[in-house]
Point group: C2
Chain length 470, copies 2
């Protein structure tokens, strides 16, 4: 294909700006239209989470565009989950038994700014802000925008349009409302919403609680989490039911009730948050939804990527990583030198969709794990055993969490199938008493247990495969 | 609640007319608006399947409204699947080992006419035709209609609105586009579409092939089926990919290619269908989709029922049965005498949705079973064994098919979980050689095998339950 083709990218968020950079590097003429003002010159954090979990799949994409070193200073390693119980006791549950495996907290704004800066270094990449996409004519390969500066509408023409305009994608809505082809689509909301709060730095600028962890106050029906920022603060997120339960977003309407709720369930967090009430009533409550759809592309004209194609709930810390991996995977298809965009888009969706469907489902599983299971004895025993496996036999075992998070060369779907089978094997062996005293196993006993887990995992995968023929 | 309340039902198809009848019997003032002309006086079969599978869950609803005897003469029993292989050999695979368990072929039009006649016998039920719903204002509990007779629009007010307007429900679209509450919604299309064809009666009015079966020509990538009608004809349906494979709906564009396709794959059917080419090019090709959504109701104002709430693909023969069961289940909630519609609607959705989600998934499973697995050796062995269990130990075993189809007092979800576990148990026992020679087991060996299957099923359910805690 002719490199001088004109590419239009709708949305300059994380996925759109990375895509612009990569397509710019590959020599395409790239125009990016973003509805918000330039985040490098305006504070527009409201409504989107301030920091994010950044891990191997995201880092792989940074390597692709040569930004690995520039992104490092933005990262705060988080080695595990710091679990806070209702009495305020804490325990650090590592993410992996291997020392080099950890996730990072990163500022959405700083990372996005870096990607925009790098993309704009290419003279064949032009980024325009305050241009909101209203709809896409996917048959004509044109998009209608409103320019917020002039308040005028205009139509932009391109050889191919990429929509990276997020979970509420205008192009996806055009697919849905257009009814020109069979468009499978789902939006699924959780019963819970979220609200961002904060733990500010101490007076001398220090972190008020342990820096290198993702803090979790899991309370079964709801939970609070906190991720560190470079300035010594933590961004805290409350996940809570909208309508149900004794305390919910609908009935937390007074200062007194908010404090009562936090005193009862998050006493140690409350002590770090004198600013709680202000945050609570100033910040919006937002829904948590999963979006899946297919096809992502219309012929060779248009393609959905990132959240526009597959928005997920945040509980696996994989939203941004999955969107970045979209760009890595798309780039791989470009390397195959297909004859036209239609073949490229088709190939990309065929290899990619099974994996984004899987991470969507895994993210919902992890909601239940984080708010409840992390506190259950059998779950903790499973994790202890897995940490021992990973530490003692680092080349022989990876937990589901490790497969998803630290194994960027294994697809999400494979990670899900193997990871779930391992979990099932271990939980059932624990329930049946086939493994006990997991914290006091000799290396030989540990090795034997590992072999038993591996055999049981293979048997589960095989049984499922046979039953798939139903 | 006051019985004299005004109920508006949108749609007088199978679900809407049954609901009107039942609410009429219960004393409500019922107004029904249907967009089509009266099917009792106009032929409007186009676009919807002509005959349907009718079984225990549907019959239970007929009992509820006192129509069991009146519906019987409309039914043609189908005792099993008549499998046609590519050489034209046939084998009858029964639906159950118990003689009294069979499904029925019934005319959609005749059944709908019966329900309309019975509903209209109640002077508190009024049915209007040629009134198309355009949208519903679920906050005001009003609906906007277009009267096709006068070409004028009008607004209808009610105390509660029930939308039974099918898979393309206008009220569901109002929920989606209204964005007044978090509406989870999915539409999923299969890669396959369908087209209706026919086998006409012989010159003397007889059935040209065996009457009391559902005929299947399963060819892995596509399939043909046929259900009998009272007039000696069969309604035939071709399920075929839209775009892929050597033969698909997009490339079957000439008379010659259609005949070539049928000669190659459905030779014995083609011999019965001299009218094939005319049917093929006269009848539309339609998509196959699954719709799920939630919530079904908005406060106590509006409720989606039937296909409007949960459209499914036709492969389990449960679409109409599930919609009729909606009415049975809704009636049960009415018996609980809740204080207001909101409680009734909430209660109904809470108990019902898990089951309609399950039948949607089961129907997709059965697509793969019908077009392919019915021809596989291990699947056939499983079915032989299950038939032997049901015949020899009729009170001790029900296959997944029997649980779904003939056990109207077990919910679809329970039927799915138990049925899938049984299938998995048997298929794995067959694969492992734990059962062999299934057609020559002594009663004692059969009993032993049944006990093993039961134990393996329980173990599978238990293992899954433990792993659910992941």
């Amino acid at each position: 294909m002719n490199k001088k083709q004109n590419i239009l990218i709708i949305g300059a968020g994380l996925c759109g700006s990375l895509l612009a950079l990569r397509l710019g590097q590959r020599g395409y003429n790239v125009t990016v239209m973003e509805m918000r003002p330039d985040l490098r010159t305006t504070d527009i954090s409201a409504g989107r989470s301030i920091n994010l979990a950044f891990s191997n799949r995201g880092i792989k994409a940074m390597k692709l565009v040569g930004l690995e070193e520039k992104v490092k200073p933005l990262c705060i390693p988080m080695n595990g989950r710091m679990l806070h119980d209702i009495e305020g006791n804490t325990v650090l549950a590592p993410y992996s038994g291997r020392e080099n495996e950890y996730i990072n907290s990163i500022s959405r704004g700083q990372l996005n700014a870096l990607l925009l800066d790098e993309a704009e270094k290419h003279e064949n990449v032009k980024i325009y802000f305050n241009r909101k996409c209203k709809s896409v004519d996917f048959e004509k390969t044109t998009a209608l925008f409103k320019d917020y500066n002039s308040n005028k509408e205009f139509i932009e023409d391109a050889d191919a349009i990429f929509a990276t305009d997020g979970a509420g994608s205008a192009m996806r809505q055009s697919y849905y409302l257009g009814k020109k082809f069979l468009f499978s689509f789902s939006q699924d909301y959780l019963t819970h919403g979220y609200k961002e709060l904060s733990i500010l730095p101490s007076e001398n600028g220090d972190y008020k609680t342990y820096k290198n962890a993702l803090h979790i106050w899991g309370r079964e029906a709801f939970m609070l989490i906190a991720l560190p920022n470079l300035d010594g603060s933590f961004t805290v997120t409350l996940f809570l039911n909208f309508n149900e339960g004794e305390y919910n977003f609908n009935n937390l309407t007074t200062k007194e009730r908010v404090i009562e709720f936090f005193e009862k369930y998050f006493k140690d967090a409350l002590e770090l948050m004198p600013n709680l009430v202000d945050d609570f009533f100033e910040n919006p409550t937002s829904p948590l939804g999963t979006v899946k759809c297919s096809p992502w592309h219309y012929k060779g004209n248009t393609l959905l990527m990132g959240d526009a194609a597959h928005a997920i709930v945040p509980f696996y810390g994989q939203g941004m990583n999955a969107s970045f991996e979209d760009v890595t995977e798309f780039d791989k298809v470009l390397d195959e030198k297909h004859k036209d965009w239609e073949t490229v888009f088709k190939q990309y969706e065929e290899s990619r969709k099974k994996d984004t469907d899987a991470i969507a489902d895994l993210a919902i599983d992890n909601f239940h794990e984080m708010k409840g299971h992390v506190n259950h004895a059998n779950f903790r025993e499973k994790r202890s055993l897995e940490m021992a496996f990973e530490k003692t036999f680092p080349y022989e075992y990876s937990s589901k969490y490790s497969l998803v998070t630290f194994n960027e060369n294994i697809g999400y779907r494979e990670a899900m199938l193997r990871g779930r089978a391992q979990d099932k094997a271990i939980l059932n062996m624990l329930a049946d008493g086939d493994i006990s005293d997991v914290n006091n196993l000799t290396n030989e006993a540990l090795k034997n247990t590992l072999e038993k887990v591996k055999a049981a995992t293979e048997a589960i995968l095989e049984d499922d495969k046979i039953a798939g023929l139903k």
